[in-house]
């Protein structure tokens, strides 16, 4: 794969990121030592269940964590060589929307209901690129055409409530692309949409990011969406990345018991029906009460004594794949049989 050839440069490098929320119930370690990189033009997926820290880790990149109660307590986030965590408010404003933009899950709540589509779409062009009104309008029309919205002229004067969910998400994508950013972070971009509209939006995003060479971090809990989309996959559990690798490695040769359990728990349409599903037993952990051991241990069918002592480091297992499990070497056989 291109990205492993090393001739593309690293766009985003996150090292040892820790984001915590200080609440009355205790300190929530939402993101607890996460490191990953995004190459130029690459699509990276962050996968995991609710509360695993995937959204928080992405919001931390743009410094969008509400403080209080939350704070990035440790780590560095280098974007094109610059540490985003050291920028002042003015500095980060020039990055947000200009160099890194976001597509949120809920197109209903993330567009301003009292401003026209035109105003919301031209705003970043005027603020960031210093365009005048007519140039911004021309560019806005071009963007709406690019994301497949019919009759763009009329749309500019309409309000978000005039548009359907799928159309709103297209507008969100147009806004994200407006200033030709290097990186787009899409937080559950299709979760609120119907399956046929989801397919349309996924196809659109895939096509546009490829064509414009934009890197993409896609955050999702839907394993199918990841398979259709991503070059690299980071699997998160309880604030940590527990496995990372190419999409093919993660789906065909998972090394972490959680990754395998997650893959096995979804019914698949391309395989014969099973009598019973194979769920991950137990409940996700309480992030205020994590001990020093592996957080997945209470639900892991391979847990050993050692798993309670310390959290396993994320270590290479070959061909760029990495896994955080004490038993990754002796589990290689059993996991392959089970998958």
């Amino acid at each position: 794969m291109e990205t492993q050839g090393g001739y593309l440069s690293t766009l985003l490098q996150i090292e040892g990121l820790r984001t915590q929320f200080f609440t009355s119930a205790g300190t929530v370690k939402a993101v607890d030592g996460v490191s990953y990189t995004v190459e130029e033009g690459e699509t990276v997926a962050l996968v995991g269940e609710s509360g695993c820290g995937k959204s928080v880790s992405a919001l931390s990149v743009l410094r969008l964590i509400p403080d209080p109660p939350g704070r990035v307590v440790d780590g560095t986030i280098h974007f094109q060589g610059q540490n985003l965590l050291e920028l002042d408010e003015e500095g980060i404003r020039h990055v947000r929307g200009r160099q890194i933009s976001m597509v949120f899950q809920e197109p209903m709540t993330s567009l301003n209901p009292v401003l026209t589509i035109g105003l919301q779409l031209t705003e970043p062009l005027i603020t960031h690129l210093g365009m005048d009104d007519s140039a911004a309008r021309t560019r806005a029309l071009e963007l709406l055409g690019m994301v497949g919205i019919s009759d763009p002229k009329r749309r500019l004067t309409q309000y978000p409530h005039h548009l359907s969910g799928g159309m709103r998400q297209r507008v969100m994508i147009a806004m994200a692309l407006a200033c030709e950013p290097k990186l787009i972070i899409a937080d559950e971009p299709t979760t609120a949409l119907d399956v046929t509209i989801q397919a349309q939006i996924l196809e659109l995003m895939k096509d546009l990011t490829k064509r414009l060479g934009v890197a993409l971090i896609v955050i999702t809990h839907n394993l199918g969406v990841v398979a259709r989309y991503a070059d690299r996959v980071n699997v998160m559990y309880a604030g940590k990345i527990i496995e990372t690798g190419s999409a093919r490695q993660i789906y065909h040769n998972p090394k972490h018991p959680y990754t395998l359990a997650l893959l096995r728990s979804v019914p698949r349409m391309d395989q014969p029906r099973k009598d019973k599903l194979d769920p991950v037993e137990g409940q996700p952990p309480d992030l205020t009460r994590l001990d020093e051991g592996c957080a997945f241990r209470p639900r892991c069918r391979y847990a050993a004594e050692r798993c309670a002592e310390a959290f396993p480091p994320l270590e290479p297992v070959g061909n760029g794949q990495m896994c955080a499990c004490w038993r990754k070497d002796d589990l290689a056989g059993p996991l392959r049989e089970a998958s």
Partner: protein
């Protein structure tokens, strides 16, 4: 997959109750139009939302019928009409041979014990001020099934353990529980009445994948143990395939296809069913890379003013001129396989 293999596989997998059991629920030509009104003192209907527009199907005892479709297709309204939570505009809903639409509130009470519903959102469907024990016990108290409070508490404990929860949860409040645990409480509440028929309205959609599988397994175990019949309403096609014996597909208030589960998934006939199935991403990058993705153009039209003729024709790749004029007949192409499209089969 070819027709032969699909049919062969359908024959191989014996499905208890299907085609053999007696009909439990028989919905005939169900229509539910919601009026859009104008005026405050003198209200007049200016238009109608045609949420369900002539839907017929039957559910046999012990069977799970999956009902799929996108938002606004009328699948939830269909479920609510069966339960008499909405008064249908027209049509018949026969439950154990009795037409529910003709019953008054008082005569509905005994029927309501036999039909229960599990809702989608485990956060808003439990009263936050009631303890779990009271939530599960309330239907038994209201219907005077168990009047003694100690007996009722014992039954609540039993129901909690049946649903895989610790009986001590009875003294807790909903906010102390996770989404998966709350959904189990919703299931326990439905079971409290010893129902014969349960409508699961997106019962697992709000749950995380690992928890979703737990709840699906629970629903299947309960179905076998208590001989339950389910109407499983969901938009997740892979989940519906897993749990259902037969599957019905709805689009814009109409039923477009109905068949035995494997037959529908292996050999979908209606163009809408085909795009719907093709839109579901499969969690395997290699399969995804090779798969042909049929992307349907446009969006679902408004149910206030649905297209004339076949409701799917503006988005359909097969559509010919007559599709915009004639409403397609819902016909049985092969035994048990119904489709509303004159161009296929």
């Amino acid at each position: 997959m070819s027709v032969e293999t699909a049919a062969a596989r359908a024959a191989e997998t014996p499905m208890p109750g299907v085609a053999r059991g007696e009909v439990l629920v028989d919905v005939k030509n169900l229509v539910m139009h919601f009026p859009i009104t104008e005026g405050i003192v003198f209200q007049r209907a200016t238009a109608h939302v045609k949420a369900v527009d002539g839907v017929s199907f039957e559910i046999r005892k012990g069977e799970t019928l999956g009902l799929v479709g996108e938002s606004g297709c009328g699948k939830t309204t269909t479920g609510r009409c069966i339960l008499q939570l909405e008064k249908a505009t027209s049509g018949e809903i026969l439950f154990e041979g009795q037409d529910l639409t003709k019953l008054d509130q008082r005569s509905l009470v005994p029927v309501r014990q036999k039909i229960q519903i599990i809702f989608q959102d485990p956060y808003s469907s439990l009263n936050p001020r009631m303890k779990i024990g009271d939530i599960i016990g309330e239907p038994m108290r209201v219907h005077k099934i168990i009047t003694d409070s100690a007996e009722r508490a014992a039954r609540v404990s039993e129901l909690l353990s049946v649903c895989g929860l610790d009986p001590k949860f009875a003294d807790r409040y909903p906010h102390e529980m996770s989404g998966g645990q709350r959904q189990r409480v919703g299931i326990a509440r439905a079971l409290a009445m010893n129902p014969t028929f349960i409508i699961c309205d997106e019962a697992v959609s709000a749950l995380d994948v690992s928890i979703q599988a737990q709840v699906i397994n629970l629903l299947e175990d309960l179905r076998d143990e208590f001989h339950l019949t389910y109407l499983f309403i969901a938009h997740d096609l892979s989940v519906v395939r897993h749990i259902s014996h037969r599957v019905a597909v709805m689009y814009l208030g109409k039923m477009v296809e109905l068949a035995v589960c494997d037959e529908l998934y292996d050999n979908p006939l209606h163009p809408y069913t085909q795009v719907l199935l093709s839109a579901v991403p499969i969690p395997d990058p290699e399969v995804e890379a090779q798969r042909e993705h049929k992307i349907v153009k446009g969006e679902v039209p408004s149910p206030i003013n649905p297209p004339k003729g076949c409701v799917f024709h503006p988005r359909c790749t097969l559509a010919v001129e007559s599709c915009s004029k004639e409403v397609p007949e819902f016909r049985e192409i092969r035994p048990g396989h119904w489709v509303a499209c004159p161009l296929v089969g």
